[in-house]
């Protein structure tokens, strides 16, 4: 069978070998560049850091050890500190919840406005898309700091900042979900004379709600961290408590430890909770479509 294909075969062979060589070259080059970048980057970072990587490595546990030692020594205070930090924790969770709720609401609207096939004003889709991109790009920190300047410290600037960012982040994910939604039910409702909002409520929502919810949960988890971090720069909540305790240092490490524990437990708790819920949501939903 190969007798008539002598020339093509030789060509195939040569072409493939050339391809292999080129691929090796590119692959090798890419790997080398990447490694070089990584090494050079590390070198620069190491050089611009106050302490070097190698000298610091043996001391990596010095600080945690100080904290643990003092916390252990004053362990009797821990329950009291935990109780004291609880309101701040609740505030942090409230910031995240408010930000996620309002962000998701904004994201729903923007994502509907920017999904082809659903948008009531298809011509404005690029506008709403750019809007979401911009909202995603502005770091929470920047918005929070500006708002703190105007509104004063506290949870509201943090909630607004995180909510603003959430609109952009969730909006993008939601519109991906919307794009995959089946438009047939929507058309069916339209044929019965349904308005745009009725079509979205009754035709789209049941299809996309599980996915939306799952993404919103993931965001909620991320937002808890974000609100803790913003507290660190003055936006209230548990981050604020942590900053005050930790920066005073020796003498208040027991308090710091209590806040650490609380924050860590909260993050882990919501992390696990959200992954269990999301798992159930997506897998449960899949089961139901095929009864």
């Amino acid at each position: 069978m190969a007798h008539f294909a002598d020339t093509p075969l030789a060509e195939t062979r040569a072409a493939y070998l050339a391809l292999v060589r080129q691929r090796r070259l590119y692959g090798g080059l890419m790997l080398a560049i990447f490694l070089l970048l990584l090494a050079a980057g590390f070198g620069i970072a190491n050089d611009r850091n106050a302490g070097g990587f190698l000298p610091g490595l043996p001391h990596i546990f010095d600080f945690p050890a100080d904290v643990v030692a003092e916390a252990w020594q004053k362990r009797a205070n821990l329950p009291g500190h935990l109780r004291d930090a609880l309101p701040a924790l609740i505030e942090t969770i409230n910031i995240a919840a408010l930000a996620t709720l309002s962000g998701a609401a904004g994201a729903i609207v923007l994502s509907l406005l920017s999904t082809a096939g659903l948008a009531p004003w298809p011509r404005l889709i690029p506008l709403f898309r750019r809007m979401m991109d911009l909202m995603r790009a502005v770091p929470e920190l920047v918005i929070a700091l500006v708002l703190i300047f105007v509104l004063g410290g506290g949870p509201v600037p943090a909630a607004i900042a995180i909510g603003f960012h959430t609109v952009g982040a969730l909006g993008k994910l939601f519109s991906e979900v919307n794009e995959n939604a089946d438009t047939k039910p929507l058309e069916g409702l339209a044929s019965a004379g349904a308005t745009w909002s009725q079509r979205m409520m009754l035709g789209l929502l049941p299809q996309v709600a599980p996915n939306w919810f799952s993404y919103a949960l993931l965001r909620f988890e991320i937002n808890i961290r974000a609100s803790a971090i913003l507290g660190f720069v003055g936006a209230g909540g548990i981050g604020y408590e942590l900053r005050n305790a930790i920066s005073f240092g020796q003498g208040r490490f027991d308090e710091a430890a209590a806040v650490f524990i609380l924050l860590f437990l909260t993050i882990v708790l919501f992390d696990q909770l959200s992954s269990v819920l999301r798992h159930r949501l997506t897998h449960g939903a899949r089961k139901e479509t095929r009864p």
Binding site: Q198, G203, E288, P291
Partner: protein, 274 residues
Amino acid sequence: MLEVKGLTKRFGANVAVDAVSLSVDRPCMIGVIGRSGAGKSTLLRMMNRLTEASGGEILFDGRDVLSLTGREKRGWQSDCAMIFQQFNLVPRMDVVSNVLHGTLGRRSTLATMFSLYPEEDIHTAIDILDRLGIAQHAAKRAEALSGGQQQRVAIARALMQDPKVILADEPIASLDPMNAQTVMEALRRIHDEDGRMVIANLHTLDTARRYCDRILGMRDGRIVFDGTPEQLTTGVARDIYGAGTDFSEAATSTEIRDTAPVAAVERRLAKVTV
């Protein structure tokens, strides 16, 4: 009562429906046939205002359908129910709710958001489902039903609209022969008993012949045949489908079977009988 004049739809350079005119003076059951791409769906979608027409007009009881907007347009849509090949139900919602969606044109968004349907609507929905023989599935999710059952839910939604016209776009194309028959019979019965006008796109001649009073044949966006089932001879059908003399009706029959092995066995059969 229905008057279509020079109705045209262009998609870019492509003319999907080409100056179709049509006049219907009493509610009857009309079948539209034609091969794929002939413009059947586009015609129906324009009537329901799902697709905007490029030109022409549609008059229904004197009302200029194509010029309606907003609330009035939705009012017309609820007078003119549409049934789709893929049912177009909300699959994750229960059957009754799907049927109740037929009342959306009449209800406010807020009321429907909170499922504030009046009691008599709910009763009507159940009655309609009962009439179509699927009341026992009322509480199930639409997606849990078979194709034929889902199409009957779609018909129930259409009836819930209490429409003057029912448009059905290949209502049986995704159904097996058994379900297809049930659905066509339901449509026919609605026509017979309620006297509603039914216009159905069909892609099989035998179905059209069996259930319809009047048959329209479309080709390249134009109506090339308009007559009774009896007038629809094989020769006419060949014209409509643009087929040569090798055209066999079996190729478009609703019965699902692979023609090749059947043909083979039929050949054997032929041999034996000869």
